[in-house]
C-alpha cells in the first residue's frame, strides 16, 4: 500500500509541476527584488547597510568596552608591584655585619697570618668591628666562622683557643672568657 501511495504521490507532484511555471514577469520581479547586493557588483541598499551596522554596532561596542576594562585592570595589576620601590639605601644594619663569608676556624687562624679577610669584607663593616665588641659575634658564634658543632663549647673553649694564642687576644674573646 505504501509503495502504491508513494508512486501516486510522485505522479501527483510530477503532473502538478507541469502546470506551474515561473513566467518572465516573475523572473524579472525576483531579479529586481534580490538585486541590491547580489553579485557584490551593485550598490547595496543603504537602509539595509544601516540596519546591518546597527545590528553589529552593539556587540562590537560591548566587546570593545569589555576589552578596555579588562586591559585597564590588567595594567593596574601589573604595575602595582612596580611602584613600590625597593627600600631606600639605609645605613647598614648590625645584622649586615653578622653575615660575612665564613671566616677561617681558630685552629687555621693560628697557622695563618692575621686577617687576610680584609679584602673579602666591606671596609665599613670591618672598621666598625674593632671599635667595640660586636654583640652579634658573641651571640652567634657561627658568624665568626666557627662551625655549628662547636657552638655549645664556645664559652669554655675560648680559653683553649686563647692558649693557642691567636684569637684570644681580641677583646671579644676576652669578654667571652670573663663570662
Amino acid at each position: 500500500m505504501d509503495d502504491e501511495l508513494e508512486a501516486l504521490l510522485r505522479d501527483h507532484y510530477r503532473r502538478a509541476a507541469e502546470e506551474i511555471h515561473a513566467d518572465p514577469a516573475l523572473l524579472r520581479r525576483y531579479r529586481a527584488a534580490a538585486r541590491p547586493g547580489a553579485d557584490g557588483t551593485r550598490t547595496p541598499n543603504p537602509l539595509g547597510k544601516g540596519l546591518g551596522l546597527r545590528r553589529w554596532a552593539l556587540p562590537v561596542l560591548a566587546a570593545a568596552a569589555t576589552a578596555a576594562v579588562v586591559l585597564a585592570a590588567a595594567m593596574l595589576l601589573w604595575r602595582s608591584p612596580q611602584p613600590a620601590p625597593p627600600q631606600p639605601a639605609a645605613p647598614p644594619s648590625p645584622a649586615a655585619t653578622t653575615t660575612p663569608p665564613p671566616a677561617p676556624t681558630p685552629s687555621r687562624a693560628s697557622t695563618r697570618p692575621p686577617v687576610p679577610e680584609s679584602t673579602a669584607r666591606p671596609r665599613s663593616a670591618r672598621s666598625s668591628a674593632p671599635a667595640a665588641p660586636d654583640p652579634a659575634s658573641t651571640v652567634r658564634p657561627e658568624a665568626t666562622g666557627n662551625p655549628p658543632s662547636e657552638r655549645p663549647a664556645t664559652p669554655r673553649d675560648a680559653p683553649h683557643t686563647a692558649h693557642d694564642g691567636s684569637v684570644a687576644d681580641g677583646p671579644a674573646a676576652r669578654g667571652i672568657g670573663l663570662e
Partner: protein, 189 residues
C-alpha cells in the same frame, strides 16, 4: 524525478545571481506551491528566499545555493501556515486568499479526480508532515537531507513521514467506495 525536475543547481554551475534565479525559479516555485498550496503566497516565499540568498551570494555561490534557498522556503512555509492559522477568521486577507485559491486553484489548471482527492488530503496535513512528503517525493531528498533542511532529527522525519502516509492512506480509503462493506454486514447478520 524531483531532483532532476528541481534541477539542483550547484554553485559551480552558475556564475552570477541572475543565472541562478533563471535556473532555479521554476523548481523553487513548484516546491513552494506544493508546500503552501497557494500560488501567490508561494511566489512571495520564493522572493524572500532569493533576497536572503542574494545577501549571502558571495559565500553561497561556491556551495549549494539552491539547497539554501529551499531550506528558507520550507521553513517560511511552515511559519506561514502557522501565521495563517493565527489570522482571525473572516479577515480580509484570509477571505481574499481563500477566494483566490478557490477560483484559480494552486496549480492554475484542471486536476483529475484522483489528484483532487490527493490534493485535499495533502492540504489537510500539518505543515511539517506535508513538508516531509514534498521533500521526499518531489525533491527526492534523503531522510538525512530532509532532517537537515527542517532542522529536526532523522527519527522525527521518519515519524512525520509515517504519520503523513497513514493520514493519506486513511483519507484515500475513506473516499473509496467500499463494495465489501455490504458483505461484511451480511456476515455480521
Amino acid at each position: 524525478m524531483s531532483a532532476l525536475s528541481t534541477g539542483e543547481v550547484r554553485g559551480g554551475d552558475v556564475t552570477t545571481f541572475e543565472e541562478f534565479v533563471t535556473a532555479t525559479a521554476g523548481p523553487l516555485l513548484r516546491t513552494a506551491v506544493f508546500l503552501v498550496y497557494d500560488r501567490h503566497v508561494a511566489e512571495d516565499l520564493v522572493q524572500l528566499a532569493y533576497e536572503r540568498v542574494a545577501r549571502r551570494w558571495r559565500r553561497l555561490a561556491s556551495g549549494n545555493p539552491e539547497a539554501y534557498a529551499r531550506k528558507i522556503i520550507v521553513n517560511l512555509a511552515i511559519d506561514e501556515r502557522r501565521r495563517r492559522r493565527d489570522l482571525p477568521v473572516g479577515s480580509v486577507t484570509e477571505v481574499e486568499r481563500l477566494a483566490g485559491t478557490a477560483s484559480a486553484g494552486p496549480f492554475c489548471g484542471p486536476a483529475g479526480a484522483a489528484d483532487g482527492e490527493l490534493d485535499e488530503a495533502l492540504r489537510a496535513l500539518p505543515a511539517k508532515q506535508r513538508a516531509v512528503l514534498v521533500l521526499r517525493y518531489w525533491c527526492d531528498l534523503s531522510e538525512q537531507d530532509i532532517a537537515e533542511t527542517l532542522g529536526i532529527s532523522r527519527g522525527t522525519v521518519k515519524s512525520h513521514a509515517a504519520r503523513a502516509m497513514a493520514a493519506l492512506r486513511e483519507h484515500m480509503t475513506a473516499d473509496k467506495p467500499r463494495p465489501a462493506a455490504k458483505g461484511d454486514g451480511a456476515h455480521g447478520r
